[in-house]
């Protein structure tokens, strides 16, 4: 494995058990998990023997690590392309990989018969003659760059250890794969530009062709001199590059033909705008010789700045050292040492003033509170010192366009994402954009994007938070929910079938949607599901269950499949609170009878429509309101009847007296009538 960041990348995939039980890919390629090809391994992907059942050229398979985001767009761009100087990517698919018992991405490449050019950066070999070098190495690889540029592919994995010979005679070199990890993730510091090397491996971003040209220059230099360029390694090499410039730091005392100086200087120059592009190399190969480029050296201080036992002489080097020693950085920044050094030793008065402003703002913040902290001040000072460098905040250093891979790698490898989230919440990205010396119209879009992401981070409930950012920022990231992790759910259409399959192995009482699934749906589903997610986040069990059912029902309704027996059964066991939300016991009993029938049907929309029938619910609510009023009325009447005996006695007295009076009068009248009648007859 290569040095630097790539050295840290540990492939966690265990070797496959013995046996030749193959995995069939697209009905064409048979991949053998029991026959690894370690000589073709990538730092984060293991190679396995494979065969094309239709004959054709020999192939091998690369099993991509499931704990890293893959470059799916690049895979699709390179698939089936007739490359001559790039390792041809024949096909790919998501397959169930027996050694891991989960789905992973298998990529089929043409097998390079000549093997790897060098297996390690520490390898040494006898340099070729200039003619052989140009014929065997330079021209074919330049063609490879042209092929990739023609297909819009930025490789970001060009390094000596990622070159292969396609023929057994070792005369046809090709660039190796670049799809098994985020851009430049496997690149050693030596092959990266100063800016990119200062970022974390996952934070280097997609980069540009200029970055590929730089890596190409380092690779050419390595192959030219036959050993590792430069005397320093790792961080020391990076500091040497900053101090002396890449060309000087890498070539050092190496001996090579004068003719090659021009192309190497052109490719290794640190200013991206001045760096040779593909046309420059092609013109040089065609025989056109240009005057050698002179790199503009970093402005050096009259007196070095002593920090953490090192002597720093340039602003970029200071930014790098402050970021690398974050805990100690606050002292010299906050007590004005940096400002004084910039003003007196580097004669950067405007910059010194800007640094002083940041410190003052933080001091004001301590008394008044404007959100500035010591960490944000150090971050902003680093940006001012090195505006072209990555965004640095505590242990995180990344370019804004690598925010997605940063979050993805941290999440997939169970690292702490809080620093990245804190960085965004504290508006450090805005500071980085403000610090850029030249305005780029793309910044406006980036700023809006960062604000959106911050909005998601500020909301902690499911459907938002870090998980939402993860899926919004990484188009080719599969759903990382443990429920569907083994199914490699990349497209939203695959989520419900995966959950349907998960129903068989999951506890029926568990919830079939976690933070990852909800965030995945919110980010990937082109349908407004905010209402469903809000309901799902309710603290009331019935509303939450209804929100979940509604969300999954909408998914099935829009995307299919028509029948989901497993998931319906799973959900069916969780709808108790929804049924209980009806007040009418008869309705509850009817729903309890109907749910098993609907579950057998496998239709979540039908289940939802039955459980949340608007008319039925309104009827239930109206009926319940009437019943409550009726109950309360009865209560009041009983209370009145039981307690108001005085009134009733008075009423009884009055009614009794009235009755007596009426009876008396009636008797009197009747008597008179009878007597009169008797007198008359």
């Amino acid at each position: 494995m290569a040095e630097g960041a790539a050295v840290q990348a540990v492939n966690q995939m265990p070797p496959a058990p013995g046996g030749d039980g193959g995995v069939l890919l697209r009905e064409r390629f048979m991949v053998y998990p029991g026959r690894p090809l370690p000589e073709l391994n990538s730092p984060n992907a293991m190679a396995y023997a494979a065969e094309d059942r239709r004959g054709g050229r020999p192939v091998f398979a690369l099993a991509l690590s499931p704990d890293l985001p893959v470059r799916l767009n690049t895979i699709q761009a390179m698939k089936g392309q007739p490359f001559n100087a790039v390792l041809p990517l024949v096909d790919y698919d998501f397959v169930l990989w027996p050694p891991l018992q989960r789905q992973i991405v298998l990529v089929i490449f043409e097998r390079p018969a000549g093997g790897r050019v060098v297996s390690s950066l520490e390898d040494t070999f006898t340099p070729m003659s200039d003619n052989d070098y140009q014929k065997i190495i330079l021209k074919p690889l330049t063609q490879g760059l042209e092929e990739m540029k023609g297909r819009g592919v930025v490789h970001r994995g060009i390094r000596p250890t990622n070159l292969f010979f396609m023929d057994a005679e070792r005369t046809r070199p090709v660039f190796g794969e670049c799809v098994s990890a985020p851009p430049a993730y496997d690149q050693p510091i030596i092959c990266e530009t100063i800016e990119s090397a200062m970022a974390r491996p996952e934070g280097r971003g997609p980069g540009t062709y200029a970055d590929d040209m730089y890596a190409f220059g380092v690779t050419l230099l390595f192959l030219l001199i036959g050993h590792r360029p430069g005397s320093a390694k790792g961080n020391e090499l990076l500091r040497a590059k900053i101090t002396a410039g890449s060309f000087a730091a890498l070539t050092g005392e190496a001996r090579f033909s004068l003719g090659m100086i021009e192309v190497l200087r052109g490719l290794l120059i640190d200013t991206p705008e001045m760096r040779w592009d593909l046309d420059g190399v092609k013109m040089w190969l065609a025989g056109r010789r240009l005057s050698p480029l002179l790199a503009k050296p970093e402005k050096r201080a009259q007196r070095p700045f002593r920090f953490c036992g090192a002597e720093v002489v340039s602003r970029r080097e200071l930014a790098h050292m402050l970021a690398a020693n974050w805990e100690q950085a606050a002292g010299p920044v906050m007590d004005g040492q940096v400002e004084v050094w910039l003003r007196r030793s580097l004669d950067e008065k405007a910059l010194a003033e800007a640094v002083a402003d940041q410190v003052r703002a933080a001091s004001f913040s301590a008394s008044g509170g404007n959100g500035q902290t010591t960490d944000t001040v150090v971050a902003r000072v680093c940006m001012l010192l090195d505006p072209h460098g990555p965004l640095r905040y505590k242990s995180a250093s990344f370019f804004l366009d690598a925010l997605g891979p940063m979050l993805a790698v941290a999440t997939m490898r169970q690292k702490d994402v809080r620093i990245i989230a804190e960085c965004i919440l504290r508006e450090v990205p805005e500071g980085w954009l403000e610090a850029q010396p030249a305005f780029d119209p793309a910044f406006v879009q980036t700023m809006a994007h960062v604000k959106t992401i911050r909005g998601y981070l500020r909301q902690s409930q499911p459907g938002f938070g870090v998980e939402r950012c993860l899926y919004e920022l990484n188009e080719s990231l599969p759903c990382l929910s443990p429920l569907v992790l083994s199914d490699y759910v990349l497209d939203i259409e695959d989520l419900l079938p995966a959950l349907d399959a998960a129903a068989k192995r999951m506890d029926g009482k568990s919830w079939p949607a976690d933070r990852h699934i909800i965030a995945f749906v919110a980010a990937r589903f082109n349908f407004d599901v905010d209402k469903q997610i809000n309901a799902l986040n309710s603290t009331q069990a019935d509303t939450s269950a209804l929100g979940l059912l509604s969300l999954l029902a909408v998914l099935q309704w829009r995307l299919g499949p028509e029948v989901l027996h497993g998931l319906s059964g799973w959900i069916g066991g969780l709808v108790g609170p929804i049924i209980s939300s009806y007040h009418n016991r008869d309705v509850r009993r009817r729903l309890e009878r109907e749910v098993p029938k609907l579950v057998r049907k496998g239709s979540l929309p039908d289940l939802y429509n039955t459980l949340d029938d608007v008319e039925e619910r309104q009827k239930d609510l109206d009926g319940f309101a009437w019943a409550k009023a009726e109950y309360a009325g009865a209560d009041q009447e009983i209370l009145d009847l039981e307690n108001d005996t005085t009134t009733r006695d008075a009423q009884a007295q009055r009614v009794g007296q009235q009755t007596a009076a009426i009876m008396s009068v009636m008797i009197g009248l009747i008597t008179i009538c009878v007597l009169l009648a008797m007198q008359l007859w």
Partner: protein, 164 residues
């Protein structure tokens, strides 16, 4: 300074009411008519004056605003008196005959006994009505409680909650 006109207004006599003279006249006429009829039917008046004494007593002792007591006593008192009154009217209509009726013990017992029955009715009936009303209230309570149980069976115990 001008004098206050209010003093003169206060001293002015109230306007004469034209109906006052007519009212007094009609009262005099009514009283004269009653005296005339009383003198014409003097035996009846004397008889009724003594026969309806319990009614008059009931009227006097009844302090309630409704005055049901004297009606109750009076109704039956009159019923007890009416046979003897008819005898007076159909027989000799003289003072002697009236006194003769009044001095007969049997007659007095009948007349005053009827009045006593009226009094008994007035005393007994209200408690009877009270008992009936109490019984009716108990039945209503039982019906209401049964309705409540039915409501709880259909809508659950939450129907009994005052809020939510």
């Amino acid at each position: 300074m001008a004098k206050k006109p209010a003093a003169r207004r206060t001293a002015a006599p109230p306007p004469a009411r034209p109906q006052a003279k007519g009212g007094t006249m009609s009262r005099i006429l009514v009283v004269s008519l009653v005296i005339f009829i009383g003198l014409m039917f003097l035996p009846t008046v004397v008889f009724l004056l003594f026969a309806l004494l319990p009614t008059a007593a009931a009227y006097v002792v009844d302090r309630s605003s409704e005055k049901y007591e004297w009606i109750c006593v009076g109704g039956l008192n009159f019923a007890g008196t009416s046979p003897f009154l008819l005898n007076l009217w159909t027989g000799r209509h003289t003072i002697e005959a009236a006194v003769s009726q009044l001095t007969d013990v049997f007659n007095l017992v009948a007349m005053y006994g009827a009045a006593g029955l009226g009094w008994m009715l007035f005393i007994v009936l209200p408690p009877v009505v009270g008992v009936f009303m109490q019984f009716s209230a108990q039945r209503r309570i039982a019906t209401l409680k049964a309705t409540q149980i039915q409501l709880v069976q259909v809508w659950g115990p939450e129907v009994a909650k005052l809020k939510g």
